[in-house]
């Protein structure tokens, strides 16, 4: 039980560091740590498939993509653009109002039941694969088209236009 609260504290701490770090590379490294704490959350809920996928896709693929783009853009010479303090204050107030709204509606909800895992093999690969390939076969195939179009679009956007260059 206390493991959850410790990991939750770490998630919030690292996610605050992500948005407050001045250097974008440090920001990405803190984001990796945040995603690692999320993986631990998935393991605590016994969602083993999602834990592995989160580990491989987010920490392995997406954040390497971020780091690689940052390396291509080469930001180390110029300093990070800063917003004025007034805009920052307004942004924090706006986000805080959002949080207060959600927490207040949560308080109005009343008492909550504990999260209990009834079926121990709920999040295992076997169970999820059966559901994915039976009930959600069409969305699965559509997502493959989405990934293909995203790949083609990314290549098309990132290459230089031969007429201009």
């Amino acid at each position: 039980m206390s493991t959850f609260y410790f990991i939750a504290f770490l998630s919030i701490f690292f996610s605050i560091l992500v948005i407050s770090a001045k250097n974008p590379v440090h920001s990405i490294l803190y984001l990796i740590l945040t995603f690692f704490t999320f993986t631990i959350h998935y393991i605590l809920m016994n969602a083993q498939f999602l834990a592995i996928v989160n580990f491989i896709v987010y920490m392995g693929a997406i954040l390497v993509l971020f780091l690689y783009t940052l390396m291509l853009i080469n930001l180390n010479k110029e300093s990070e653009p800063r917003k004025s303090n007034l805009v920052k204050f307004a942004g924090v107030i706006g986000g805080g109002c959002f949080l207060v709204t959600i927490v207040a509606s949560l308080k109005a909800l009343g008492v909550s039941h504990p999260v209990v895992l009834q079926d121990p093999n709920l999040g295992l690969v076997k169970n999820l694969g059966k559901i994915l390939f039976n009930e959600y076969l069409l969305p699965f195939e559509v997502s493959s088209i989405l990934l293909l179009s995203a790949m083609v679009g990314a290549v098309l956007l990132a290459t230089k236009d031969p007429k201009i260059a």
Binding site: M1, T3, F4, A8, S11, I12, S15, I16, V18, I19, P24, S27, I28, L31, F38, L44, M45, A47, F49, L50, V53, N54, V57, Y58, L65, F66, T69, L70, L72, I73, P81, R82, G91, G94, G95, G96, L99, I102, L106, S112, H113, P114, V115, V116, L117, Q118, L122, G123, I131, L132, E135, Y136, S143, L146, L147, S149, G153, L157, A158, K160
Partner: protein
């Protein structure tokens, strides 16, 4: 397996909602206060991940695996979104030599 399921036994659902709401609002604040386009993108990833965690918590709470399948689709969507978005950021950098979002104000008025 037994120790893991005992581990989450005593945590109320409200605490999961609270954690995810806090991380989501941190992502919102990050989008609002930063001007670096890549950091804004990372804040969006933070928001997507908090929603993923909440979907998984509800899936475990209800004993319904549909939520976890939905998280799988969100992850595929996030991968596609990051690929296209970073390509756009690279293109913006090539045209303006900066990834400061305040440079992109041609549609402002």
């Amino acid at each position: 397996m037994e120790t893991i399921s005992q581990n989450i036994q005593a945590i109320p659902l409200n605490h999961y909602i609270l954690l995810c709401a806090i991380v989501f609002s941190i992502g919102v604040i990050g989008v609002l206060i930063r001007r670096n386009a890549i950091v804004i993108f990372m804040s969006i990833e933070l928001m997507l991940n908090s929603v993923n965690l909440l979907l998984t918590a509800f899936s475990v709470y209800r004993g319904d695996a549909t939520g976890q399948v939905f998280v799988f689709f969100i992850m595929a969507l996030a991968a596609a979104e990051v690929a296209v978005g970073l390509a756009i950021i690279v293109m913006i950098y090539r045209n303006t030599n900066s990834i400061d979002t305040n440079v992109l104000n041609r549609l402002k008025w």
